[in-house]
Symmetry: C2
Subunit: 194 residues, 2 copies
DNA sequence: GTCTATAGAAAGATAGAC
DNA sequence: GTCTATCTTTCTATAGAC
């Protein structure tokens, strides 16, 4: 690969990383291209050498965020199903996740934000959600058939809802209670006969 | 009440209704004051006779949306606890809710949107969430103590998450599956011993 | 209390130098 | 490929007539 191409790729990745961090923290509309480029230590004008529009960046940033987050660690761990899924639940429904000390999951951080965008971004979100549910299905304990799918989809909704709501609440004690409640019910769900 | 004061009140309510509809559909940043005022059949300049800023309108609109939605119907119905809470779950985790054919619940429609705003709006959201959970607790079946609170808070997260995610998905069949899964698990949860 | 008109700031996107 | 400079649009908010 020529040096210039490598350089361009690295710039693009820096832009994407900045976009993930800023969009997750402030939402799509509250962040300007200028801010993203400055965060990536570049200048405004260079943006369009990498992306055709701000919307296009958003779609790629949502994918990148999902890759960074815990929700697709499935393939990389050798833990048994129970250990794996418990670790996923505990890491996801966690204060470090809410405060972005661990990489933010776009399904929770950008849920209503993506709902307001064009089809392109919503399709990306849909695909990531499907992947998340499928992965949990594959790892589910006490599997049978449809009931497991039911449980895993509802579990995904609870995890996403718990983090999305927890991020809004101004009452710190309530956030702790919410996260703990969701973790408890979630763990109960996966132990149930499916 | 003098006629002018009544007139002003009605204008303010029209502005609030427009704000609820447009913010819920497009999000805070995608909607301009001009659009809200036109939707309320008024002109741009008149806005500041009613609200000090766009943020202030948002806070009031979130309250108004919660009052319109199903989540505070508790005091108005005489149905027994089981009937009431089942009806709430079925009405909330419903396609008519997602498409805003029934009044949108701000907890689901504005979750990550509110997370990006100032403390004032987030405190309003927090209060509404508390009220929602408390109401469900009061109506819970097979009550005991802490375990019920756990269940109801996790249930709230699942309901909010289910609607928030369902609103994004571009795959209609998947939306149906998601809503049905959440309804099934939710009904199962409230029938559990608490 | 509501209107028209406009100030002032910031955004997305483009043009052209190097 | 990245820079500076700028076009054009759109926004919040204010001023002043009625």
């Amino acid at each position: 690969m020529p040096l210039s191409k490598d350089h361009k790729q690295r710039s693009k990745q820096r832009i994407l990383d900045s976009a993930v961090a800023l969009f997750s923290k402030y939402g799509f509309n509250k962040v300007s291209i200028n801010e993203i480029m400055e965060h990536a230590q570049l200048t405004r004008g260079g943006f369009y050498a990498h992306f055709g529009s701000k919307e296009e960046l958003y779609a790629e940033a949502v994918i990148k965020a999902s890759q960074n987050s815990k929700i697709f660690e499935a393939n990389e761990t050798l833990a048994c199903d129970r250990e794996f899924i418990q670790a996923l639940i505990n890491g996801y429904l966690n204060k470090n996740h809410i405060s972005q000390k661990s990489p933010p999951c776009p399904l929770a951080f950008l849920a209503t934000d993506v709902a307001n965008e064009e089809k392109q971004v919503r399709e990306v979100y849909t695909k990531i959600f499907k992947g998340f549910v499928n992965m949990m299905n594959a790892r589910a304990i006490n599997k049978t058939t449809t009931k497991t799918e039911n449980q895993m989809m509802a579990l995904a909704a609870m995890m996403i809802g718990g983090v999305a709501v927890g991020r809004v609440l101004t009452d710190n004690k309530l956030v702790d209670e919410l996260l703990e409640s969701c973790r408890n019910i979630a763990i109960g769900l996966i132990e149930q006969e499916g």
